[in-house]
């Protein structure tokens, strides 16, 4: 989905259009889900987080400024929620509890499962931002605070690792 279309949808939502909100969900849920999954690594937490993020989009839509960066706006809400949630848990949960709290997640023969297994959190984010959100490497660099060259090389390396790992699991 391109920036203009996304911007238009957000403005419709800002004007109170609930159908536009549902369309936004349909068109951005993959990107939001994959992005959040890099933080949580399991279905349950990611699903909860997805709901909260869209809830926040609704309650905070008034702050969206026309013609700015709609993808960044959504992703920042997702990122802040994920970090805040993880920090909260880190404070509240002992290390032992974290270790035993194994939630179901994507199996090892799925793309998501393989990504989780062979890519670092940063590499997963770079791949998700490029493939699902259509960000260019330069823009990803600005989001993640990395030089463009670093993003390009990390992306290439990540794709190579991903392809090799998928071959091994019988792509």
């Amino acid at each position: 989905m391109n920036t203009k279309e996304l911007d238009k949808l957000l403005l419709q939502i800002r004007a109170g259009d609930n159908a536009a909100f549902e369309e936004l969900y349909a068109r951005t849920k993959r990107g939001v889900y994959a992005f959040l999954y890099t933080y949580f690594g399991n279905y349950a937490d990611t699903e909860d987080a997805v709901q909260t993020v869209y809830l926040r989009i609704k309650t905070g839509i008034a702050s969206y400024q026309a013609g700015t960066n709609p993808r960044a706006w959504i992703l920042q809400i997702a990122k802040n929620h994920a970090l805040s949630e993880l920090r909260k848990r880190h404070k509240e949960t002992s290390i032992d509890e974290i270790e035993i709290a194994v939630e179901p997640s994507f199996s090892d023969d799925t793309v998501m499962g393989v990504m989780r297994k062979v890519l670092s959190e940063e590499e997963q984010q770079i791949v998700a931002l490029h493939v699902l959100w259509g960000y260019r490497h330069r823009e990803i660099g600005q989001i993640l605070g990395l030089p463009t060259g670093t993003v390009t090389s990390k992306y290439k390396r990540a794709i190579e690792k991903l392809r090799n790992a998928l071959k091994e699991v019988g792509d």
């Binding site: 109170g16 709901q51 702050s63 400024q65 793309v111």
Partner: protein
């Protein structure tokens, strides 16, 4: 065979749930129409934050006042429900930064406000600060500033921390910094100030003529890096000029000089090492216990493998150790006298002292007049001069500007870290609370106020 991208999309579609009913039914919180009036202190306070969550907070807070009745309890129950307990800090030394602190009292983001702060935050150092409490985060930042020599630890200096909003942490931050300086035994005055939104915006350089929406728009897209923000929207030609404001010709030459000095020192040490080996081999050759005195050197004696005196054996062992050390340090093996002679002649040919003499008084202007002459001299001593070419090359587009600036900042960081090491690591006696307070009082007596002191030493 399906592409992995297609497979990925299908897996996601299968897994992602429908929107929950409560989310679907949540009313959309519509914004009040933006007006051109000057933003209130309250909205500006939130608009001054860089991250988007804060923009969400800002609007939610504004709406909270205007339309409290339409908000559902769920809104208040979400983990990061906006409140007025977060805040913004500006920390000024010479490097200047702004922090945003979320409702949980944790640093949400840090943004550099000048080139010196870019050096401190280069290479993703902000991630060490984000997520910490305000006092921890600011302490980490100030510690980096001290390490890099931005604070005069030996003779005293000042740090000004300004905060904005209903923030109760300024005194905690101030106390933590004072404690840090007392522990390090350095008299650095910590000046704390609470500002109204307008004053704070001025301090961090936000244009107050903008509407609150436009300020939020600016902040929402801002990069953490000052040098990158300055470059946004510039043409390639303007980028060159801007790059030179960060990396001036003089500064580029300073970098080049640093490289040259480092290489010359290494070349000198290598030459001295070869010369030392040559002398030591001569000592073995002329040793009175050497059965083939003046004819057999270290390598020949080893080859003959005879019984030698303890004294001669000790020299042979020492030579072996020296040769091993040379190999480890310079990656080159000296296998016989011919090799040693060749290395020695090369060291002589380099006339390392004369190269030192030529480069010791070199200025940027002289270097610029005939760079190829100087580069050829440096190549002669084995220096890889491609790094110098990189330093002088101007960026061709924004991506390259970001890359080069980032590399430049990281180099400056490493350089300052090295230079500031001695002052930072110097052992100083801890300062008692009483002595520190006495020092602060003296400043106030002398300068009329802490602000007066700040203006005197920093402006």
């Amino acid at each position: 065979m399906k592409s992995w991208k297609k497979r990925w999309e299908e897996e996601l579609d299968e897994k992602i749930p429908e929107l929950r009913e409560d989310v679907k039914n949540q009313p959309i919180v519509e914004c009040e129409k933006e007006t051109e009036k000057k933003p209130s202190a309250f909205t500006l306070f939130f608009a001054n934050k860089k991250r988007l969550w804060t923009a969400v907070s800002a609007c939610a807070c504004a709406v909270l006042i205007a339309c409290i009745a339409i908000l559902s309890p769920l809104f208040f129950g979400t983990p990061s429900a906006p409140s007025s307990q977060g805040g913004v800090f500006a920390v000024e030394i010479n490097p200047r930064v702004a922090f945003t602190v979320n409702e949980g009292g944790m640093v949400e983001s840090i943004v550099s406000l000048n080139a010196d702060a870019d050096v401190i935050l280069s290479d993703g150092r902000s991630s060490e600060i984000e997520g910490k409490t305000a006092k921890e985060g600011i302490k980490i930042y100030v510690d980096y500033a001290a390490k890099l020599g931005y604070l005069n630890l030996a003779d005293g200096d000042a740090v000004r921390v300004s905060s904005c909003g209903k923030n109760t942490q300024l005194s905690e931050v101030g106390n933590a910094l004072q404690e840090y300086f007392r522990e390090r035994g350095t008299y650095i005055a910590v000046i704390g100030e609470t500002l109204e939104a307008e004053g704070f915006a001025q301090r961090i350089g936000i244009d107050l003529s903008q509407t609150s929406g436009k300020i939020a728009e600016y902040i929402n897209t801002v990069s953490e890096v000052f040098a990158v923000r300055e470059a946004e929207g510039k043409t390639d030609a303007e980028l060159d000029a801007l790059y030179r404001t960060f990396v001036s010709a003089e500064e580029a030459f300073t970098q080049v000089r640093g490289l040259i000095e480092k290489n010359l020192q290494e070349a000198k040490a290598k030459a001295e090492s070869v010369q030392g080996l040559y002398s030591f081999n001569q000592e073995i050759r002329s040793h009175e216990d050497n059965p083939y005195r003046y004819f057999a050197d270290y390598w020949e004696l080893k080859k003959l493998d005879k019984e030698y005196s303890d004294a001669l054996n000790a020299l042979l062992t020492e030579m072996e150790n020296k040769l091993n050390a040379y190999k480890t340090t310079y990656g080159a093996e000296i296998v016989d006298f011919a090799t040693l002679t060749r290395f020695w002649e090369e060291a002589e040919e380099m006339a390392i002292e004369s190269v030192f003499a030529i480069f010791s008084d070199l200025t940027a202007e002289v270097f610029d007049e005939n760079p190829s002459f100087f580069l050829s001299m440096l190549e002669k001593i084995g220096m890889d001069t491609s790094k110098i070419d990189e330093i002088y090359a101007l960026p061709t587009d924004f991506a390259e500007y970001v890359e080069k600036t980032s590399a430049y900042l990281q180099d400056r960081y490493a350089e300052r870290l090295e230079k500031g090491k001695a002052a930072y690591e110097a052992v100083r006696e801890k300062i008692s609370v009483k002595d520190y307070e006495g020092y602060m009082k003296k400043i106030v007596d002398e300068y009329g106020s802490l602000e007066g002191y700040w203006n005197a030493v920093k402006k």
